[in-house]
Structure formats: structure tokens, C-alpha cells
Symmetry: C2
Subunit: 119 residues, 2 copies
């Protein structure tokens, strides 16, 4: 779902930039092995066939920022089919942070829904 | 819920900046009369007694930005008990935009929940 309206775009961009870190940490937390960018996007698309909420290009800055914060670690591995790939894995700190972020997400989404419903 | 951890703070701030516009438009859409800043915060606190997700100071830049985009209009009225107050009301354009934003919110929160549940 892509809107042409600049107000909607701004809203969508801001909301997604906050949520992206949560979503990426969660995908890596659920994976048994480290994943590289394209694999992560594929995992996201499985959940989300019609809406491409996260483009691959938007993914990398978030991954780098999460690694800089110590929540992810990464390692470059050679590939048979192209350039080397950077594989990301969640750290113990990232796992602990994810629990906290999930709690914030639950509270926030309940809050937003209660406002939208105008109870 | 205020965290001391800078990673959590960053996440919370980004997520809320995107959601703030949605929440404010929705509160004004549900009000029969224009509201000033403090009344809006009071309405938010009713829903949300323990968590103060939106501080009054964080509210004003969002209100101004929504007005600049034509989604809100405002008018200054004198007050008996203090300085004049700026009352905000939603515009027809804001009402239409809110419908679109609500749909995006529903899709996004479903998406995030499906990722967190790891279905």
C-alpha cells in the first residue's frame, strides 16, 4: 500500500522507521541461523504478501544501526552466486531488548486502538 | 513507561512520532468542539492512565505540523484564567486523511503482530 499523498507518506515513513527495528530484531530472534538482507526481506514477505512495507534498501540502515547498538552482530561470508554476503544474528543484549520493545509495542498498540475506537 | 536505556528510548520516540499525528487527528475528529492542547492531553490520559505516552511539550510541534498540512485549523481565544489559548479543530481534509491513516495503522499493526507471533 503506497500512497501518493505526501501527508500519508510522511506518516507511513515515520511509523515504519520506529517499527522496523522491532520487526527485524524479531525475525532474527526467531531464526536458528544468521540471515542476510535478502533472506530477511523474504521472511517479511511471507507474512505480508500484498503490502511491501519494508523495501530492501530501507532495511540496511536499520540493520547497521542495530549492530552499532550491540543488538545484532554480523559476519561477511563468501557466496557462490555473487558478491559476499553479510549475515546478521541477534545478540544476547538484542534478545533482552526485544522483550522490552515487545512490551512497549503491546502497550502502544492497545493505546492507539483505544483512541481510534473512541471508548 | 519510561526506559532509561537509550536504545529503547530511540525506538519509543520514533514509534510515537509516527503515531502521534494519528492519535491527535483521531481525538479531534471525535470532539464536537475545538480543543486546546491541555484538553487534548486530558482526553489522551483518560484512555491511558498509567502511561504518559504523550507529553504536552511533544504535542505542540505535531499540532502545528498538522495545521501546516491543512489537516487541522486553529483559532486563538482569550481565557479568563490565564493566557489566550489556541483551539484546534479537524478540517474536512483532515477527516479524509484520518480514514486513510487508520487503514494504514490497521494493516501495519496486523503485520507487526504477525511477525512478533512468528506465524
Amino acid at each position: 500500500m503506497e500512497s501518493e499523498n505526501p501527508n500519508v507518506k510522511k506518516f507511513q515513513k515515520e511509523m515504519m522507521s520506529g517499527i522496523a527495528a522491532l520487526v527485524l530484531l524479531s525475525v532474527l530472534d526467531q531464526s536458528d541461523t544468521p540471515l542476510y538482507g535478502y533472506q530477511i526481506t523474504r521472511n517479511l514477505e511471507k507474512e505480508n504478501q500484498k503490502i511491501q512495507l519494508m523495501k530492501l534498501g530501507a532495511l540496511y540502515p536499520v540493520l547497521r544501526s542495530l549492530e552499532k547498538s550491540g543488538l545484532l552482530s554480523s559476519q561477511v561470508e563468501p557466496s557462490f552466486s555473487g558478491p559476499p554476503r553479510r549475515y546478521y544474528a541477534i545478540t544476547a543484549e538484542g534478545h533482552a531488548m526485544l522483550q522490552e520493545w515487545q512490551a512497549i509495542w503491546q502497550q502502544t498498540s492497545l493505546f492507539v486502538n483505544s483512541i481510534l475506537e473512541g471508548k
